[in-house]
Point group: C2
Chain length 248, copies 2
């Protein structure tokens, strides 16, 4: 494990911290983070979910958790949904407000969401990262030991080229990469069963073979994943026997 260079580990009671990352935005990091956290909780693990996308938090919507957290002894008590403890900027910022902050404020938020939340004993803390390779990612890698990062990408070159930037960053910061998930991989028409490669497919599996990285699986592009996100019902819970849920 790396991280917490020379400092104190802000969350010593957490066994595994797993960032879900991608250099690219809109590839499904939040959707994967939410469904992964719920799936781990269904297996009986004690799970936390930290939404570090400060500018564009969508975890509260995805998890149908819209209350504001309470405080106790100066610590924030996380909101619980589907058995998962959750923290997000979305709980503190009204819908009609934007967080217009420069870098240093982002780093403060990372510290708060780690050290100032009453996480309790956790087996897994899933961290939904924003796109890019900036302040939030750097601060996370420097403040706590990370078990390993899971990378999410869509299959096409334009997305994979940018998703790759997060992997390069983790290598530089000596954080292990657990592997890559291909999301929005192929679309099957619900009317005639024709398979359409809207964003392509297979691009991530090829990349993993070329770079000797574990391929963690593929999730289809499907309308029910998007509708479950919009309605705050993670698909691993709302349709556990569907192909989409099984892919997660």
């Amino acid at each position: 494990k790396t991280g917490s260079a020379g400092g104190v580990n802000l969350v010593p009671q957490v066994k595994n911290i797993i960032p879900i990352a991608s250099g690219k935005g809109g590839v499904g990091k939040s959707t994967v983070s939410a469904n992964l956290a719920v799936a781990l909780s269904q297996l009986g693990a004690r799970v936390g979910l930290a939404d570090m996308d400060v500018y564009g938090p969508s975890i509260p919507t995805l998890m149908g958790a819209l209350d504001a957290p309470a405080q106790e002894d100066g610590k924030i008590i996380p909101i619980v949904a589907y058995g998962v403890k959750i923290i997000s900027m979305g709980f503190f910022v009204p819908k009609d407000t934007a967080v217009i902050w420069r870098g240093p404020m982002l780093s403060k938020t990372v510290e708060q969401f780690l050290g100032a939340v009453q996480w309790g004993e956790l087996d897994y803390l899933v961290v939904d990262l924003p796109p890019g390779t900036g302040d939030v990612q750097l601060s996370l890698c420097q403040k706590v030991p990370l078990t390993g990062a899971a990378i999410v990408s869509t299959p096409q070159d334009v997305a994979l080229n940018v998703a790759e930037k997060a992997m390069i960053m983790f290598d530089k910061l000596r954080t292990p990469v657990l592997g890559i998930i291909e999301n929005m991989s192929g679309f099957v028409c619900t009317h005639c069963g024709q398979r359409e490669e809207i964003f392509g497919s297979g691009g991530v599996r090829r990349y993993c073979l070329d770079h000797d990285l574990p391929f963690l699986g593929e999730i289809p592009l499907s309308t029910d994943i998007r509708t479950s996100s919009d309605s705050g019902l993670p698909i691993v819970d709302s349709a556990p026997d569907s192909a989409s849920a099984k892919a997660f």
Copy 2:
């Protein structure tokens, strides 16, 4: 016009500066920026395209422009493709390198890409912004007068809620919002003609009606837009009579 608060306008020779923005990543800001710039150039305007997505530049790939720019008298000479002058971090950073910078370096890059490039006289400078409401957006609004921002979103709630953050920011920074473009609006199966609402449709038009904002149009989700992006052939140039090109 706002911006360049009390300072010197870094690009006085540019008539209109139009940021293409969205709080949300992966909604098509770069694809819209590239195709808009090429379409404006085809109409006879003198057009520049500045890729301010420092962590995840994709304009060089989208425009098929992969050479490194030359320098002359301490200024960067932009690369020209499809009649458009282009600057991007992608020209300066090799594929296997990530830009792992904190906020202040982003602001320096914004200044460089405005003041240190030999843009010449331009009718339009299209600026492809990264997701979020942070350093790059703040610096841009503070350094130059902006004509107005075009916002891009996909139709679903999760995306629109975050795309909205950019509009809130522009209002705060007294930058006009020209309107919103709905991208990836509906998908038509090429085999049976059935329309699938993978990301939904109509969400942006409704939002514009509710908030008294101009609706700038909708672009369908289509495989040929993605393939044209991956191959560096903006669709307004490679298939000018297609429905996708007409939408741009």
